[in-house]
Each structure stands twice: as structure tokens, then as C-alpha cells.
Symmetry: C2
Subunit: 158 residues, 2 copies
Amino acid sequence: MTRRDAHSGEPDLDSRTREELRERARVLLRRRSLRVTQPRVAVLAHLLTADAPTSCADVHRGLRDDGQDLGTVYRNLRVLTAAGLLQVVRVDGVAHYLMFAGGAHRHPHFVCDTCGRICCLPTLRTAGVSELDARWRAAVRGASVQLHGACPECVTMD
Amino acid sequence: MTRRDAHSGEPDLDSRTREELRERARVLLRRRSLRVTQPRVAVLAHLLTADAPTSCADVHRGLRDDGQDLGTVYRNLRVLTAAGLLQVVRVDGVAHYLMFAGGAHRHPHFVCDTCGRICCLPTLRTAGVSELDARWRAAVRGASVQLHGACPECVTMD
DNA sequence: ACGCAAATGCAATTCAATTGCATTTAATAT
DNA sequence: ATATTAAATGCAATTGAATTGCATTTGCGT
């Protein structure tokens, strides 16, 4: 069993790691001088454990035991993204969030047409599907590339 | 003035080209054995002239004189896309459609952070921003790459 | 011309995302 | 420690894209 015996005064392992996560989240928030609130910590801690980009609804679902408010989850995901802690991947028009890996470590994402799962692919130093391992190579049926920034017309107007 | 004199029996230039477009649209529909309906022709003809990926709302707006139904526009955009006539670019979760350029001629898109305009960039034979012309190179602030297909787990289940 | 499947028009609905506002809370100054 | 205040929250209402149910119309093969 995962839980310790009840007569032990110590918290069980799960809640210990959960608290560690929340502490990590608090540190990250303070570093960016964001206010450390319970809902915000909960959202960030949840994203710290997520192994794939997670939609707002998913985060909310994962936190529903705490009676988190959906609107607040949305607001915090926006705040955390604006602060550079999270990045967004949109899949079929739905935003999914993941911890921001840092400028140099951005990686492409893979969306399964069948199960909808979103995977983070390993970074490719030089672009090209040829560098993906064989399993992934066989999987790819299409790709899309989007750049963004200030378009030439807007640049000259600044 | 663009219009011809009223006493001329001939249609003016604008309506002539507009009819040409509609005829091109009809041909494309017949080639894919899609039913040639007035709303469908209107949507496709509109996309044939669009110089940038166009949202459903935009298409509808552009056709509002004809009293087109929004739901029907949505349905036709889906049909035309499924038939391979259009491709979709999603920007901030909103679908934008453009004529499908064909497998070999797919190109990346650029979304302006300021004005929201979406531009089709020239195809890059080898990937890399270095190949964009100087104006565009200066514009780019970020990029996202998404691949899709059947993920390894789903492949083995087929 | 006829018959039927497909498409349309219209309204209602779903779902992601945002927002207005009264209340609570975290960080700061006292 | 306590008061202060701007920020964040909780809840409900709202927006906006996209979809859908259904009665009616229309394209198209026979």
C-alpha cells in the first residue's frame, strides 16, 4: 500500500511529494514576483507533474477535489503563460499548457489523429523528420508550421 | 468608373469575372463529385479570390449580401476541406481556410502579433528562417511546429 | 418529369474562454 | 502585530466559435 500506517505522525509519501511540488511552485512564483495564492500554486503544481500538454478543462478536472473555480484556472493559466512559466500548444482550437522549457529547448509537438494524445517530441537540432526515431517517423502524416511576430507593415509603423 | 453604361446589354467587368469565378468553383466541385449548390459555389468562389486564410465569419461576412446562412457556411467549409479543396490554418483557436495548394507546395504561415493578419510565406525547400527574405526574417519572433498522424501506440492497435 | 438522398435555412445548443462584480487575500507600509 | 490596498478569487453571466436537430428545399441520376 502507498499510505503509511495511520499511527505514524509523519505525512505519507504522496502528500510529502505533493507538498514538495507545491513548494517548488511557490518558489517559481516568487522568483517572478507573482502573488503566491493557493489556486495559483495548485495550478502550477499540477502542470509541474503533467507529462503532456494539458487543457484548462483537464487542469480543472484534476483539481476538482479542491473545489477550484474554472474561471480562476483560466486566469491563472494566462498569468503563468504571460510570466513565461508556461507555454501554449493549440490543438483543434483548444489551448493546452505545459511548463516552458526555455528558449533553447523548444520542441515540436505531435498530435495523434486517432486518440488525440499530444506528445512532446525530442528537440531536433536540425529541422527534418529524418532525425526522428523510426517509430515516430512512421507515425507522421502531416505537419504545420506557424511563425509569428510583427509583420513588415506593422514593424514600419512602430 | 468600374461599371459600364447602363444602356449596354453586356454585364459589367466585375460581374463577368465574378461569374468566371463561380464557374471555376463549379468545375472544381464537379471534379470531386460534390453537389453543386449555390451556397457551396459562393463559398468556394469567395475562397478562390481570398489572398489570405479566411475565417468562417469572414466568409460569411463577405457573402452576407446573398443572405447566406452561417451554419451552411461552416458545413461547406468542412466539406470542401474534407474533399481536399481547402486547408485549415488555426490562429488563436479560430479556423482560417485557404485553397489547398497541393501536397508538395505546403507552406508555413505567419501570424502578425499586432494586426492579426495571416500571411502565406513562400515555400522553403530546406527548413530554416535563414531562407526567408530580410523583411520577414526581421519579423519573426517565434515559431511553432506541430506534426500529426497516428501515434506509435495507435499504429500498433490498427 | 420523378424520387430520393443530400444540402439548406433557421433556431437551439454545445463548448471553450472571458468578464463583471462583490468578497477575500496576500504583500506592503505603519 | 495591524492596517492598508491592490490583486486575486468565487460565482454567475456572457461572448463567440462551431455544431446540430429538424422541417423544407434542391440537385441529380433514373
